[in-house]
């Protein structure tokens, strides 16, 4: 099976370590993974700012780049959401898009639902708090949203539980938003910071040593506050823990 690796633009530039971890993690399962070099950006930031009309060309470019793969896998729940949920208006009954739409997966979702992995052979002897980022949690349904009356499941936790010696801590608010929200983090700066601080406090109060999650953008926002406020917490993309790359 041929897997196209999609790396969000900002991760490519700022978080290559998590990208390498993602690639290594996938390679561990003997997949034919390819990273198409011409890729750039899914257009999420523009669309969330209201400018989806202007980023149509990026959507076409994306579909064109990735249509040939059996699966498209990305270490970013929110970018996957963008492609799955918000490209629709640009493509009417377009076969290529329909294929992309059903074959794109957030990396944890892919490991959990497609590969159905049962073993990882890695250790991570730390107390870890999981940040259920909203797009992954509520749109991709990587975990049961706390608002719903449905049986509890959390794909990210299931995967983390395959890691040896890890201790996943309980939070007061399991799936509260961290306040990143793309350009929200700038246009509603005060609320964004307040939300980020509260999210971090929840992890600290629960004695976490590391915050992890499936969205580097949320983690980047919290990392920025943690560093500024000199809090004793590390931030790691979930693929780094799952790949044993830290």
């Amino acid at each position: 099976m041929k897997v196209g690796l999609f790396i969000p633009c900002f991760m490519n530039e700022l978080y290559p370590k998590s990208c390498v971890a993602t690639l290594k993690l996938l390679k561990k399962f003997d997949l034919d993974v390819e990273y198409p070099m011409q890729q750039t950006c899914c257009g999420q930031a523009m669309a969330n700012s209201g400018c989806s009309k202007d980023m149509k060309s990026l959507a076409y470019k994306f579909v064109d780049t990735f249509k040939k793969y059996d699966y498209i896998v990305a270490p970013s729940a929110s970018c996957v959401t963008m492609v799955k949920e918000h490209y629709e208006p640009f493509f009417h009954y377009n076969e290529d898009y329909n294929k992309v739409k059903v074959s794109i997966y957030e990396v944890c979702e892919f490991l959990h639902d497609v590969l159905k992995i049962e073993k990882l052979n890695v250790k991570f002897p730390y107390k870890v708090g999981l940040h259920n980022s909203c797009h992954g949690h509520r749109t991709l349904r990587l975990g049961s949203a706390s608002e719903l009356n449905i049986p509890y499941n959390n794909k990210l936790k299931n995967l983390l539980n395959l890691v040896e010696e890890i201790e996943i801590i309980e939070l007061q608010r399991e799936d509260e938003c961290c306040g990143f929200g793309g350009t929200f983090s700038v246009s509603e700066e005060d609320i964004s910071i307040a939300m980020g601080k509260d999210r971090i406090a929840d992890h600290l109060n629960s004695k976490a040593e590391v915050i992890t999650g499936a969205d580097m953008s949320c983690l980047m926002h919290m990392e920025g506050i943690i560093k500024r406020d000199k809090k004793p917490l590390r931030v790691m993309h979930i693929t780094e823990i799952l790949a044993g790359e830290f």
């Binding site: 633009c9 991760m11 490519n12 530039e13 700022l14 978080y15 290559p16 370590k17 990208c19 690639l23 990273y35 070099m37 890729q39 750039t40 257009g43 930031a45 523009m46 969330n48 700012s49 209201g50 400018c51 989806s52 009309k53 202007d54 980023m55 060309s57 990026l58 470019k61 918000h86 909203c134 509520r138 949203a145 706390s146 608002e147 719903l148 009356n149 449905i150 608010r173 799936d175 938003c177 990143f180 929200g181 793309g182 350009t183 929200f184 700038v186 246009s187 509603e188 700066e189 005060d190 609320i191 910071i193 307040a194 939300m195 509260d198 926002h221 920025g224 506050i225 560093k227 500024r228």
Partner: protein
């Protein structure tokens, strides 16, 4: 044009860190109560689906159900009036009051009269209007608007209430004991109830088949207002109709649990006629509701049963307070209603949202609130209401992203130069991201570069 701006108003609210956290916790407490209550019913998700279906069906056939309701209400001796907008609504109410020589009115449970700004309208014409729900009474005495649709005074602490009551109804300044304050308010209101010549109430549900209306309250004051005076005027938006009495159970089970976590509101009162020798009127208002019915993107917003759950769960509302929305209904539902009605004035509301989606999952009638807010943003761009700066920046970003080599080059340059810059240059006043956050550490190489060097030929 108003200079209304959510981020600025939010800034004011957040500035008082202690109060902001108190507000956040108070509402989160209600949200948790709601979670427990909703999880106590195994068929909760099914109920939500039914509720959404009943509402959507009713809205699609609203003309038919409104006429059915009118005919059945008339058969019961209720007088039914239709108003196209707030002005007409207020005039109708005033006319009824005048004909009955009413000088004092008690009012309960009506966001609609807030929307129509009925109080100032009547007061200007010499009629005393007293809001009788405790929270609404408090904000009325303070000359404020409700900051939440179910908990109108949630932005105030008990000490604030003690101060207001001390000034307005003469309670002890230092006594902020909630039962003392509630009793004092009750005492004060009793007199108002006894003297009132008319009671105005809102409507939670109007049943087409029976021609009666249902009002849900916890304080029982709507019942007092509707039954003590001889004249009862119930005011409702056109969207309050449900087809049959059988449908009501679906909504009452959802409403109280979603609103406060109670299994049912203390009073679910049915009004099917006037009191003996009295009169009952129902005023049904459109006031910019029909455009929703014609809009595929936003019509679900009319299904709202005003439980307030989306506010309690919204991380932005909890931290910015209801007044930051500056619209009669705050929070996610208020943002979508306001943006649709007056996109120019409320252009910041659809952006006062991180698109976390909690509201849509909590909503008992499954309104797609977060996607509506996303769509509003696209509409603002379409109508050229977003700032030019934002549009041009985004267009430039797209232009750049369509040029992978150039983008890689610029990024590389940034990664190389930013670490060399002095802090003062990076953290300047234009770098809003960096005011309270460090920027990420710049890695030496991008993933693309690493991939080319190490993995490409694997």
């Amino acid at each position: 044009m108003s200079l209304y701006n959510h981020p600025l108003k939010a800034k004011e609210f957040v500035r008082n860190d202690e109060r902001m956290h108190w507000h956040d916790k108070a509402l989160w407490f209600v949200r948790e109560k709601r979670d427990l209550a909703s999880k106590s019913i195994p068929e909760w998700e099914k109920l939500r689906t039914y509720a959404a279906q009943i509402k959507s069906h009713t809205m699609a056939n609203l003309d038919k159900y409104l006429l059915e309701f009118e005919a059945n209400a008339k058969k019961r001796g209720i007088k039914v009036h239709f108003a196209k907008d707030a002005k007409e609504h207020n005039e109708i109410v005033y006319k009824i009051l005048k004909e009955n020589r009413v000088e004092k009115v008690v009012k309960s449970k009506s966001m609609l009269t807030e929307e129509c700004r009925l109080n100032p309208f009547l007061e200007k014409r010499g009629i005393e209007v007293v809001d009788t729900d405790l929270g609404e009474r408090i904000v009325q005495l303070r000359k404020e608007t409700p900051s939440h649709i179910v908990l109108p005074a949630i932005h105030l602490k008990k000490e604030d209430v003690a101060k207001t009551f001390h000034e307005k109804i003469g309670t002890d300044e230092d006594n902020s004991d909630p039962s003392y304050l509630t009793n004092a308010a009750r005492e004060n209101l009793r007199q108002k109830f006894l003297n009132a010549q008319a009671g105005i109430t809102g409507v939670n549900f109007a049943v087409a088949k029976t021609g009666g209306v249902v009002v849900c309250t916890n304080e029982g004051n709507a019942d007092m207002g509707a039954t003590l005076p001889k004249l009862h005027i119930a005011c409702m938006g056109i969207e309050k109709i449900i087809p049959r009495a059988e449908d009501l159970g679906v909504f009452t089970r959802l409403l109280a649990r979603s609103a406060t976590g109670q299994p049912i509101t203390s009073y679910t009162s049915h009004f099917h006629s006037s009191v003996e020798n009295g009169e009952m009127h129902i005023v049904i208002v459109d006031n910019k509701r029909t455009p929703f019915l014609q809009s595929n993107s936003y019509k679900n917003a009319l299904n709202c049963i005003r439980c307030g759950a989306c506010m309690n769960t919204c991380p932005v509302y909890r931290r910015s307070g209801g007044h930051s929305y500056d619209y009669v209904i705050p929070g996610p539902i208020g943002s979508t209603l306001g943006s649709f009605r007056d996109p120019k004035i409320y252009k910041t509301l659809s952006f006062a949202c991180s698109l976390c989606g909690s509201c849509s999952n909590v909503c008992p009638v499954k309104i797609d609130l977060d996607s509506q807010l996303y769509t509003h943003r696209q509409d603002l761009r379409e109508k050229n209401i977003i700032s030019n700066k934002k549009r041009v920046t985004m267009q430039f970003a797209v232009w750049l992203m369509n040029r992978p080599l150039l983008f890689s080059f610029i990024s590389k340059l940034a990664r190389k130069t930013i670490p060399l810059l002095p802090k003062a240059v990076i953290y300047n006043k234009y770098n809003i991201w960096g005011k309270h956050r460090d920027i990420p550490q710049m890695p030496a190489k991008s993933f693309k570069e690493i991939y080319k060097e190490e993995f490409k030929n694997d």
